[in-house]
């Protein structure tokens, strides 16, 4: 890897930088047959230039919904009901409409969508799509745009001529993901959001894509958000981690510290469920139960309590607030922060409950 050591220490110095993106108290609901149900509840998160933030949690945690809010692009029947997303030089994205919103999307904010391996237009070459993107953003100098795209391609180890003349089906999964990054950055975005950038890739392509993300992030001084369900992926490249469950950010802080000493029981469980190439395989285990969906999500108390090995009576009653328990580290949990409980790997879980149907009545 170019330099496999991420700047975990960067988090401390970056505190001085202004946030490139500040999400405050964001709530997003989807209209369902049971009424408006929140997929993101009162989430706050800052992205800073020079920092890669990892947003991690199981499927259904609300990660994509939160990430799409950065573009004010939550699809119907979803809607932002409270909070703001301030982007430097753009303003509160949740209040933008029409032309100004379109300019921000793909302009200041580069976004690589989940399953973007399949999101290129199958009927147009990559080059044609690049020109469309330029025109929709009223770029005057299309030649300069193509030049910049070529540069980006080259930096990512892509043969620019071949790629610009290719249709989606002529490119491998890893190449499509790189093309997605080229298109996200070609308009000089300062913020880069990647939703599950490596989920459909094999390990070798994954390592190559992560390496590329890391190097364009550094070279361009971006504020980068990587969204994934895979703890391994964020631990490989993120400087900071935000852990999401049931629409809440339940823990965040510097990545190295958070992995070494996870404080929320959910974070511990996620780490303990990651298959590793070192250590005793018999200690690792899947999370018990199922992640909640909008309808099974607890309305009162802690969202994680049904799957939590440390749940206490107070967890049924009150929703723990996200608070700073030690400088720079935040968690939303009623239990003791340093966890007298055994490490996640040692928590016994009965086999039949590894994956029970429903998980809840």
């Amino acid at each position: 890897m170019t330099d496999p050591t991420p700047h975990h220490d960067g988090a401390a110095t970056a505190g001085a930088r202004p946030a490139e993106v500040a999400i405050r108290d964001l709530t997003v609901v989807y209209r369902t047959e049971h009424g408006d149900l929140p997929a993101v509840s009162h989430a706050s998160l800052e992205l800073r230039a020079g920092e890669i933030t990892g947003l991690v949690g199981e499927s259904g945690s609300g990660k994509s919904t939160l990430a799409l809010s950065l573009l004010n692009a939550v699809p119907a029947p979803g809607r932002i009901t409270s909070g703001s997303v301030e982007v430097a030089g753009v303003g509160d994205v949740t209040r933008l409409t029409g032309r100004r919103l379109r300019r921000a999307r793909g302009g200041a904010l580069g976004y690589v969508f989940q399953a973007s391996q399949n999101s290129l237009n199958p009927l147009k070459t990559v080059g044609k799509q690049l020109l469309d993107l330029g025109r929709s953003h009223e770029v005057e100098d299309l030649r300069a745009l193509v030049r910049r795209a070529r540069e980006l391609c080259e930096r990512m180890g892509l043969d620019a001529d071949r790629v610009l003349d290719s249709y989606q089906h002529e490119l491998s999964g890893g190449m499509r993901q790189r093309v997605g990054i080229v298109l996200a950055l070609v308009l000089n975005a300062e913020v880069l959001v990647l939703d599950e950038p490596t989920t459909a890739l094999d390990m070798i392509s994954q390592a190559a894509v992560l390496d590329i993300v890391r190097s364009v992030h550094r070279e361009n001084g971006l504020a980068t958000l990587v969204v994934t369900h895979d703890m391994g992926v964020v631990s490989e490249i993120a400087d900071r981690l935000a852990v999401m469950y049931g629409g809440r950010i339940v823990e965040h802080g510097p990545a190295g510290e958070l992995l070494r000493r996870p404080s929320h029981p959910y974070t511990r469980a996620l780490i303990g469920a990651t298959a590793r190439i070192v250590g005793d395989t018999r200690l690792a285990r899947a999370l018990p139960g199922q992640p909640p969906d909008l309808t099974t999500l607890a309305r009162r108390g802690c969202v994680f309590r049904d799957r939590c090995p440390l749940a206490m009576p107070v967890c049924e009653e009150s929703d723990p607030a996200l608070s700073e328990w030690t400088p720079g580290r935040f968690r939303a949990c009623h239990a003791d922060p340093v966890g007298r409980a055994p490490a996640p790997a040692a928590v016994p879980a009965p086999r039949a409950q590894d994956d029970p149907t429903g998980g809840r009545p």
Binding site: I204, G256, R261, L270, A275, T281, A352, D355
Partner: protein
Amino acid sequence: MIEARNITRTYTGRGAFTGTRTVHALRGVDFTLPRGGAVSFIGESGCGKTTLGKILTGLESFDGGELLVDGTDLSKLSARRRAPYFRRIQLIHQDPYSALNPTRDVGQILGDPLRMRARETGATRTQQRERAAELLELVGLRPGTLAKYPHQLSGGQRQRVVIARALTVDPEALVADESVSMIDVSMRLGVLSLLRDLRERLGISLLFITHDVATARYLGEGGELHVIYRGQVIERGPTDSVVQQPVHPYTQCLLSAVPVLRGLEEPGPDRLVPLAALDERVATPGCLFAPRCPFATDGCADGRPGLTALPADGAHRHACLHPRARRVVATEAAAVH
């Protein structure tokens, strides 16, 4: 027991732009899968893993070599005589979303093959129903799941249903092709430990196919690991020995690609940089990996190395002209309190 001897499979495709091209999907694969044993194949996309899984389960033909089930060479049998052998080897697909018919509930999904199987075993209706309930319990699902439709289940639960369905015909071996790569990381270990349990408690043999070394390590413990590159096995041996002391540069690249859990693990000091994309069209008379190998010398392009045993461990073999131990695997970080 299943034995594969020198299995080859070549595809000749005709692309609109590329003209005729030949893909050597398998170039002479050998392995022995004993009763209750585990053999894993790892390699990146396009290396021939799925082709191998399909051949073993009778879904794809092969053009050279022998496939023996308990000593009977299947390539010598007619398709009709082969069928009962392939019943004993069941495939678990990669995609639990498309593997199940969305219009049928789990009871029907298990009931159909159980009824077919009953023609041979003579099981009564009641016995079939009992067996369905038993299988659900075996794969860790609640009895209530029988009435559910696939869309009401998570990825991990669907994969358990797929496994239960494979078990309806009482197989002796399961071929699991990327069986957990499409489900959430948090649920993968549950499915992996189920497969491991089936092997340890019921003596079902397991052929596990994946691009992810870490999951192969979970299932392949105590078994044999084969690293496959463009259809050729380039390193093989006891799982632990190949994972902990790889000597082939390709294996070392695969292991280097496994994310390091910072804080808990330290990256190996010899960790290699990510490889550029695989191009199957590159033809070479020499080592297949030479065009991408960080350590290739001029000699590597001349002759193709075959498998050679390591002097220290006869069971650990490699196909490299310059085998060398490198510390590419992460180690556990010192404990913190």
